[in-house]
């Protein structure tokens, strides 16, 4: 009873706080602060048509490195959290087959989904999308695979290698930024190229590709762990 009352009180108070925020909110009419700088100088400085990508990969690249780390961290934690003991590892659980429709469409769609994912992160500096989105799309393909065939063993080692190598490459590119350009994660150590081209915006496509691979691998890894954890007794 007291608990419900307190919850009510909390929610009412939050409503009050948010109401105040809402009332004091004046919709923006023009860009201010750093946003204005990005809008005016972003294309020139970074060379990416997609300004969000410019912000994500370069200006706030350090954040992005943190994001990648979070995914990596989660995958690692789940890795040892849901780790199976040796007995369970060898156990084989045969699931019932799933519907024919799913199996067939998976066979058809998964390569396309993978391709699409790659497209999304390679073109991250030009069009909506990027490494995270691309990676997520790839992982959704893996998810589809697992759903279509619950007994499928994902190649664990491949995921690991992709994840590891792309992560290291991300860091190395970041360090190259220090060595060859203005600072950590500076994309300008590769020439910016022609604005709007696929191979433009310096290291951004490179970075985004590695991010895409890494994110895809990590999410797949997590999915893999969840799948395997069913064996736990």
């Amino acid at each position: 009873m007291i608990r419900n009352f307190l919850i009510g009180l909390v929610l009412a108070s939050f409503v009050y706080i948010f109401y105040n925020l809402y009332v004091s909110y004046e919709p923006k009419t023009e860009l201010t602060g750093i946003a204005a700088h990005y809008a005016e100088q972003g294309a020139k400085e970074v060379g990416a048509a997609n300004l969000v990508t410019a912000v994500v990969v370069t200006y706030r690249g350090f954040d992005t490195m943190g994001e990648v780390t979070i995914l990596f961290l989660t995958a690692s934690i789940i890795g040892f959290f849901l780790k199976l003991n040796k007995k369970d590892e060898k156990k084989v659980i045969i699931h019932k087959g799933t519907s024919e429709l799913l199996v067939t469409s998976a066979q058809l769609l998964v390569p396309i989904i993978f391709l699409f994912g790659v497209y999304v992160f390679i073109n991250g500096h030009l069009t909506p999308g990027g490494g995270f989105q691309g990676g997520a799309i790839i992982a959704s393909g893996i998810a589809l695979l697992i759903m279509a065939n619950p007994n499928k063993e994902i190649n664990h080692h491949a995921i690991l290698w992709i994840e590891s190598i792309s992560g290291i490459m991300f860091v190395i590119i970041g360090l190259l930024g220090i060595a060859l350009a203005g600072g950590f994660l500076d994309n300008r150590f590769i020439s910016l190229g022609t604005f709007g081209d696929l191979f433009s915006a310096g290291a951004i496509p490179l970075i985004y590709s590695f991010i895409g691979l890494k994110v895809g691998a990590e999410i797949s890894n997590i999915l893999n762990k969840y799948q395997k954890s069913q064996k736990e007794s």
Binding site: N20, G66, E163, G167, F170, L175
Partner: protein, 1043 residues
């Protein structure tokens, strides 16, 4: 200089690489991780070194090649370097400690740990709000993962609570961040600080949300159940890292973000910190489990840090010194403590008795306990000192009270715990094993604690003046602890002798008198130590520690030196007292009263310090502000050591249960430290321009009542050493009363008692202690007739009690005579009457002491006991010789003393004419009386001798007994409840009101803690409710009204 960005790059690079390289083996991953942590430590410590020993200036690190706020930047300044070095060092040592725990979980655990430490580094260094959020999340997720290296469901539950709680907090932070960005157009913290964010309602709420999130990260009481569970539930190796490294990062995050709101939040932060500090420590008092206790303590430390941060305006430039001192100590000691818990694996505090199976571990634990409570020579001692001094200088008296109260609560549970470790029954069948990788980090931390403590002292002008030589001597004795007692005793005596020889020329008057009591008394009581066999492990370092403190008191020229000596003395005496067989509870209450007293002294000094240009001890003579409070607090502090009535309850047990040669040390010698303090305060009061007579009047009554109480209680003791202990209370009452009179005569009386009590109480305690060693019991009714077996001991006690009772011609009468004159001259008749009446009561217990032990019927089981050890007899008879000289020639001592006192008390109220003393109302000659009585005694003795030649001794049972022989000595010996009749008359005076009061207070604290801690129901959802309620309450308190 290696750029700090390499800390991130190295950690991530290695972390990602281990994914593949980990195939080479777990140990390979582990070593790679440790190397990386080592590299990170190297980078940050290189910066730290450059800041402190070079002229390095703060450096910004830009990412992506753009200047902030366009891109994210990191700042490496002195504070950042310090904090990140701390984190990395703890991280590295923690990595070593947890090496195999991680290993069992596979290489991923190493990766998570590495990333965890890295993220804390970034939290410290980053100057971008959103980046802060991201890396805070990384650290939270990593924490939630690392909790799981501990097996079992408890860790899983704790981790879950942790992650949902931190998710809520980070949601709040995120909402605040995005609105802050919306209103300012920047995410850079420096920009936000410069902006006028708080002028708009929305901005105000955004700032509130950001700050409340930062505050909640500091686990404020009571919205911190999740934090407690993390400390308790996760592996202790990791709890240590959370307690140290995460706390450091959280503190620094709050420190950075606080600037956004300017100074307007300082007050709230201080209050939140205060509530947390006191609340957590209060609940700790009730705690029985070691892990949970440390959890409460860790929360308490966070509260203290918040408190300090909130009070930064009081501290000014000293903020960093204080924070570093407290943070360093807590970090190192708490980490070590957690790791110790991880090794010892005893669940309840009582089970910690097993730790003393390995004495070195006890030493480590002791180091941590004393460091956490803020004893010298650890950094927190100096930090706390500076903190309190600065607070007082700016009028923050309430805050001083808060800090000292919280610290006191903390002392309660730490010393109780430590007491269990030293003395609780160890009858457990489990034991603990030690592996090198677990103990090495702890040893390193301990060494760091001592080294940094020393460096902290050297950091300030005042600290550099402290004499560390006695402390080094103590450390040497620690190192030599494996030697047999004979050698160590000789080393200790020679060491003290040499020290006294060198210090002697520099002292005079008051200082000389007390130094003689401390040092010569110390050497004499140490001689008795030769009677012990074996190693007497741990005795010499702590005994010398006490004497180091005592001599430190004497040598002190500044208030800091004085307090330093005072605390060392307290620590040393605590260890001495707790050595007794049943001393555990008494040592605890001794320590608690001592700590409370020390805090009162600290507060008193801080008030005295206000407006002073000097830090010398002479500020006591010239207290400018609130002199009543300053002197009152100082006196209260000193009176805890002299065991005045009401705050005496620690003494009987502490002195009574101590070892035979420790009792005289702590009674005859140690109590004089309190007297020395009282004298210093009173000298100050005599020179003060204010009228402080009401204070001395109260002091006089306290002294008088102490005499009455001590003496009456002593009468009804069955335990010989407790009897002497109560007698000490009474005697100290005389001394306090005499000094409170504040006249030349009064002080002369006081000094006479100081000297007398030193000699006869040392004699009595040494003798009785030696007798106890022989007969194996403290209970007087189990002894009797020992005069036949140990006549030399009997003579010593006879002279001792005659002197104590004040019967002429021995020196006790000197004190009584002076007393009468002083009291009548002063006009304190009623107090005086109470004191004199108590003198009559003293006869009862003194007679009981000698009658029931030495006279009456010898017990069957004592028929073959030997005379007390020669090693006790040597100091006893040396002191007796001194006593006799003082009795026969009191003028030798009293005349120079009178001249000395004339410096402070100019009334020339006693006149000496050779051996004759004259006051306005009386006259007396010590030598003459001695001569007269001696001659009469001799003549009568000779006459009797002539008339009863050849008197031969008859057997024990040949007494007039209704024509029968008594069958057993036990039934014929009048000893048990000897003063039953007197008890019927005076029992109302023996009601232990003080004990009841303190018991009641203890109950109150425990009940309060027991009631309050029910909020920690263990339900994660309830904890989330606490968090949001906390936010709401704080919202309405802070900015709710201004919207």
């Amino acid at each position: 200089m290696v750029s700090p960005i390499y800390i991130v790059a190295a950690a991530l690079g290695v972390g990602f690489a281990i994914g593949v390289l980990g195939k080479l083996g777990k140990n390979f991953s582990g070593i790679l991780t440790l190397l990386t942590l080592g590299f990170m430590t190297y980078v940050s410590s290189e910066w730290l070194y450059a800041f402190y020993f070079g002229d390095q200036v703060s450096t910004y690190v830009f990412t992506a090649g753009y200047k902030p706020p366009i891109s994210i930047n990191l700042l490496m300044g002195p504070q950042e370097a310090f904090m990140s070095t701390l984190i990395n060092v703890i991280g590295l040592l923690g990595g070593i400690y947890l090496f195999f725990n991680f290993g069992r979980k596979g290489r991923n655990a190493f990766v998570v740990y590495l990333v965890f430490i890295m993220s804390l580094n970034v939290v410290i260094m980053t100057r971008d709000l959103f980046n802060l959020f991201v890396f805070l999340e990384i650290s939270s997720i990593a924490t939630a993962g690392l909790i799981l290296i501990e097996k079992g469901n408890r860790a899983v539950g704790a981790g879950f609570k942790y992650i949902i709680a931190t998710s809520i907090i980070s949601s709040i932070l995120l909402i605040g961040t995005i609105f802050a960005y919306f209103y300012t157009g920047s995410l850079n913290i420096d920009d936000l600080v410069k902006s006028d964010l708080t002028t708009t309602t929305g901005g105000l709420i955004a700032v509130f949300l950001i700050l409340i999130a930062a505050i909640l990260e500091m686990k404020p009481f009571p919205a911190n159940g999740w934090g407690l569970d993390v400390y308790e539930g996760s592996h202790q190796g990791f709890s240590a890292v959370v307690s140290a490294a995460t706390a450091t990062a959280s503190y620094f995050m709050l420190y950075k973000l606080l600037d956004i709101a300017g100074n307007s939040w300082d007050h709230y932060i201080a209050v939140i910190g205060a509530v947390t500090f006191i609340g957590a420590n209060l609940l700790g008092v009730k705690q029985k489990f070691a892990r949970r206790l440390l959890a409460y303590s860790s929360i308490g430390q966070l509260g203290l840090l918040m408190l300090i941060l909130g009070l930064r305006t009081y501290l000014g430039d000293n903020l960093n010194y204080v924070v570093f001192g407290i943070l360093l100590t807590n970090l190192l000691a708490k980490t070590g403590f957690f790791w110790l818990v991880g090794i010892v694996k005893a669940k309840t505090l009582k089970e910690w008795a097993i730790i003393r199976r390995k004495p070195f571990f006890l030493f480590l634990m002791g180091t941590f306990v004393f460091a956490l409570i803020g004893f010298p020579p650890f950094p927190s001692f100096f930090a706390k000192w500076t903190f309190v001094m600065d607070l007082a200088a700016n009028g923050g008296f309430v805050w001083i009270a808060v800090i000292l109260t919280g610290s006191f609560l903390e002392a309660i549970y730490y010393f109780r715990w430590f007491g269990y470790a030293v003395k609780a029954d160890d009858n457990y069948n489990f034991s603990f094993n030690v592996r090198w990788h677990k103990i090495t980090p702890i040893i390193l931390l301990t060494a760091l604690l001592y080294i940094i403590g020393y460096l902290t002292a050297q950091h300030t002008e005042l600290g550099r003046m402290i004499n560390f030589i006695p402390l080094f001597f103590v450390l040497i004795l620690f190192a030599l602890d494996f030697l047999p007692v004979f050698i160590k005793n000789t080393i200790a005596i020679i060491g003290m002798g040499i020290y006294f020889y060198f210090i002697y020329p520099s002292l005079s008057d008051l200082k000389l008198l007390f130094e003689v009591i401390f040092m010569i008394g110390g050497i004499l009581t140490l001689i008795a130590g030769y009677a012990y066999k074996g190693k007497r492990s741990g005795f010499y370092p702590v005994a010398i520690l006490m004497y180091a403190g005592l001599t430190g008191l004497i040598e002190a020229n500044t208030t800091l030196q004085f307090f330093f000596g005072w605390e060392l003395m307290t620590a040393g005496s605590y260890f001495l007292i707790i050595r007794g067989k049943r001393s555990m509870p008494h040592a605890l209450s001794y320590m608690l009263f001592s700590v409370a007293g020390a805090y009162a002294i600290l507060a008193g000094i801080s008030i005295a310090n206000i407006g002073q240009l000097t830090t010398s001890l002479s500020i006591f003579n010239n207290i400018q502000y609130f002199p009543q409070w300053a002197y009152g607090l100082l006196l209260f502090g000193f009176l805890t050591k002299t065991a005045s009535v009401g705050i005496h309850i620690w003494l009987p047990g502490a002195h009574g249960e101590a070892e035979s040669d420790v009792s005289p040390m702590v009674s005859a010698i140690l109590l004089k430290a309190g007297v020395y303090g009282v004298i210093l305060a009173l000298i100050g009061m005599s020179k003060s321009q204010y009228d402080l007579s009401s204070l001395t009047y109260i002091l006089g009554w306290v002294g008088a009542l102490t005499v009455l109480f001590g003496n009456i209680s002593a009468v009804f003791q069955e335990d010989a050493k407790r009897l002497l202990a109560y007698s000490s209370i009474g005697q100290l009452g005389y001394i306090v009363f005499a000094f409170a009179i504040m006249t030349q005569l009064g002080w002369l009386t006081g000094f006479t008692y100081v000297i007398n009590h030193f000699m006869y109480k040392a004699v009595l305690f040494l003798t009785i202690g030696a007798v106890v060693l022989r007969v194996g019991t403290h209970n007087m009714y189990e002894m009797g007739g020992l005069i036949k077996r140990m006549p030399l001991a009997f003579v010593a006690v006879l002279i001792g009690i005659t002197s104590l009772s004040g019967v002429p011609p021995l020196s006790g009468f000197t004190g009584k005579w002076l007393f009468y004159n002083a009291v009548i001259e002063k006009g304190w008749y009623f107090q005086g009457v109470i004191v004199f009446l108590s003198g009559g009561v003293a006869f009862l217990y003194l007679f009981r002491l000698i009658q029931t032990i030495f006279l009456g019927q010898l017990k069957d089981n004592h028929r073959n006991v030997k005379e007390i050890s020669i090693w006790f007899l040597i100091p006893i008879y040396t002191l007796l010789a001194g006593l006799m000289v003082f009795s026969a020639r009191p003028q030798w001592v009293l005349q120079p003393l009178g001249d000395m006192i004339a410096n402070y008390m100019p009334q020339n109220s006693i006149r000496w004419d050779g051996a004759y003393a004259y006051t306005a109302i009386g006259h007396w000659t010590g030598s003459g009386v001695m001569m007269t009585i001696g001659s009469v005694f001799l003549i009568v003795f000779l006459i009797l001798k002539l008339s009863t030649r050849k008197a031969h001794k008859i057997k024990q049972f040949d007494i007039v007994y209704s024509g029968e022989r008594p069958d057993r000595p036990d039934t014929t010996h009048v000893a048990y409840n000897m003063y039953a009749g007197f008890y019927k008359a005076v029992w109302p005076l023996t009601v232990p009101l003080a004990e009841r009061f303190w018991n009641w207070m203890t109950e109150l604290v425990h009940e309060a803690a027991g009631f309050t801690r029910r909020i920690y129901s263990g339900n994660g959802q309830a904890y989330m409710l606490h968090i949001v309620l906390y936010i709401i309450v704080l919202f309405f308190i802070t900015i709710g009204s201004s919207i």
